[in-house]
């Protein structure tokens, strides 16, 4: 379970203060898929970065399975599987070596790494390219490898930043069913997206972020009810206040 409590993060860019995240609170529960929805630049990536302790919040708290991220960042990272926005691979290593490297950094032994890799290869459909060097991989192959290395340690909580970005239709569908499997296994899945349809198709709960603030949250049906709009799309436009950035 991931709890975010009144988190703030400010940057100063060329003298001007940018409130990237301005008091965000939400809870992502185990056995649910939570979607972080918002236009580009709304503060989704910065929020996720504070969750996996790449950045420290200026104020507010982040708890992962009840552990304070500021106090025990290493323990928090151990409990998270993270697919960041940046998902570069080591091009001179094979996909399997990329996954094994992260498994070792997670402190796993070699036999656990090979069992886990086998399971992820089957679940993500990576048989064809698992033993190839990653140079020249397609976007879909890269994303699958990045997800496999993020989940090699079997984490309870899974964070994914725009996981379907740049994927074709078939790979996107495979990705969605993979996320549902993670949910069925009782994990806490939190992903960010700026694509409304994707959030609607997958999420049990939606947290809508705009200008660094949470402007609405709840189940998709609740959002429709709150705004009094018939379609989810209209509901999002209503809470965000503009249509800008909702679509690619």
């Amino acid at each position: 379970m991931i709890e975010v409590q009144s988190v703030q993060k400010h940057f100063s860019a060329r003298g001007a203060l940018v409130r990237a995240v301005d008091g965000v609170s939400f809870v992502a529960r185990d056995g649910e898929i939570t979607g972080l929805l918002g236009p580009n630049g709304a503060g989704k990536t910065t929020t996720l970065r504070m969750l996996y302790t790449l950045m420290q919040p200026d104020s507010g708290r982040v708890l992962v399975d009840g552990i304070d991220a500021a106090a025990r960042p290493d323990d928090v990272r151990r409990r998270l599987g993270v697919l960041p926005d940046a998902r570069g691979l080591y091009k001179r290593l094979t996909a399997r070596e990329n996954v094994a490297y992260f498994g070792r950094l997670q402190g796993l032994d070699e036999s656990t790494i090979s069992t886990r890799t086998a399971a992820l290869v089957a679940a993500l459909g990576m048989e064809e390219f698992i033993d190839r060097r990653t140079e020249g991989f397609s976007q879909g192959q890269r994303t699958k490898t990045a997800i496999a290395r993020a989940l090699v340690h079997d984490p309870r909580n899974v964070l994914l930043d725009e996981p379907t970005n740049g994927l074709d239709v078939m790979t996107t569908r495979a990705m969605r069913s993979f996320l549902r499997e993670l949910r069925a296994e009782g994990r806490c899945v939190l992903f960010s997206s700026h694509v409304m349809q994707e959030v609607a198709a997958l999420c049990d709960r939606v947290v809508v972020i705009a200008h660094g603030r949470v402007v609405a949250q709840g189940a998709p049906e609740e959002l429709r009810a709150q705004t009094g709009r018939a379609s989810l799309e209209d509901a999002f436009v209503q809470v965000i206040g503009s249509e800008e950035g909702l679509f690619l």
């Binding site: 790449l54 420290q56 950094l105």
Partner: protein, 392 residues
């Protein structure tokens, strides 16, 4: 398995699959360094041999004033040339190494038994190019001086030894290895330079490259501490550099064994036990270079920016060599504690087969490793900055 060890192994695997990096570090460098030094040494020796044994070409002003002297010089393998119009300028322009001027009243003084005037025109600011020739001419003139002087004393019935109150003998205490030339001055610099920045490509690739390829952020999202990550990267860089140095020194030795012995300075060959000691001397510099390069790569915003600091880094190992050139002082204990200067001194002593006491080893290694700790700490601090990975 500790995280630093995991990172170290991965970085080395990655590096060894980078064919260009391996080619430069393990083939180009090991070939270039011995070639440069062997060429310098061989050219230097050859020039010295030529200046000592070849015909001495000597422009003489006023040759007609001292025909006997000229005739004697010719018997000593000197080729007398007509003098240029402006002798000082000709020497300055390096047209001639040395020019002899015979005073117009030479014959008059000679007949009267007064010291007859000669002048040697040379340029002392170029001792490497003309020093041997000038010394040779001085020795010739000195020999003639003594020969004629002795004859004059004998002719007056005086024992020549009366005019020789001293008998000066010489004993050279140099060990066979301590003969010195320019190539030997260069060896410490080249070794320190390779030790310091030999791991440039790996270090920059492992940090700035990792960030540019967008793999740093996922790496920092693992539980591995940043200290462990930089330790792995620094040690991988150091291990790779040490390997490159080892291959270079072995190639250097092989190159010297293959070259014709005539033009070789034996002091430059590196015996196997000296090789191990040389690696130990430069170990702190290797670690220092790896740490500084990693800190620099973390500080720079890009691969390119990191590489733009290269000229500055090349200059650092040069400083002690430059210092010793302008102030060639005696080795003192404190020097061993100064990074680069201390290593420079120790490398020379190892090459000359001079013993190094254990306190001296401790001083050099201890001060070097203390500086490594400082650079490591700086690199770790830079790795903790949020800007490092979150540049997007």
């Amino acid at each position: 398995m500790s995280a630093w060890w995991v990172v170290l192994r991965k970085e080395l695997t990655d590096a060894f699959r980078d064919r260009r990096m391996v080619f430069v570090a393990l083939v180009v460098m090991p070939l270039a360094v011995p070639l440069i030094l062997a060429a310098m040494s061989s050219l230097g020796m050859k020039r010295q041999v030529e200046q000592l044994e070849g015909t001495l070409e000597l422009p003489v002003i006023g040759a007609g004033h001292a025909p006997n002297l000229i005739a004697w010089l010719v018997t000593q393998d000197v080729k007398v040339l007509p003098a240029p119009t402006d002798p000082a300028a000709a020497v300055r322009r390096q047209e001639h190494d040395v020019i002899l001027r015979i005073a117009p009243d030479f014959a008059e003084d000679w007949q009267a038994g007064r010291p007859a005037g000669l002048e040697i025109i040379f340029d002392s600011s170029r001792p490497l190019q003309s020093g041997t020739t000038v010394a040779r001419l001085r020795a010739l003139l000195g020999g003639y001086d003594q020969q004629v002087g002795t004859l004059r004393l004998i002719a007056r019935g005086v024992s020549p030894t009366v005019a020789q109150p001293l008998r000066v003998g010489e004993r050279d205490v140099a060990t066979p290895e301590s003969g010195f030339d320019l190539a030997q001055q260069m060896l410490p610099y080249l070794l320190l330079l390779l030790a310091f920045i030999g791991g440039m490509q790996l270090a920059v690739d492992a940090t700035a490259g990792e960030r540019e390829r967008q793999s740093l952020e996922p790496l920092l999202a693992t539980p591995a501490s940043r200290e462990a990550i930089i330790s792995g990267k620094i040690l991988a860089t150091a291990a790779f550099t040490l390997l490159s140095l080892l291959v270079t020194l072995v190639m250097y030795r092989v190159a010297f064994m293959l070259m014709p012995a005539k033009h070789l300075d034996a002091s430059l060959s590196v015996a196997p036990d000296a090789l191990a000691r040389l690696l130990l001397v430069v170990l702190p510099i290797v670690l220092l270079g790896a740490s500084v390069l990693t800190a620099l790569a973390a500080f720079a915003r890009s691969h390119r920016e990191a590489q733009s600091y290269l000229p500055l880094l090349i200059f650092v190992p040069m400083l002690p060599t430059l210092y010793l050139m302008v102030a060639p002082v005696k080795t003192q204990a404190w020097m061993l504690a100064v990074p680069f200067l201390g290593q420079n001194q120790l490398i020379l002593r190892v090459l000359r087969s001079e013993p190094v006491a254990s306190q001296e080893w401790a001083l050099s290694l201890g001060s070097g490793l203390a500086l490594v700790a400082l650079a490591w700490w700086l690199a770790a601090r830079l790795y903790h900055r949020e800007r490092l990975a979150a540049s997007g």
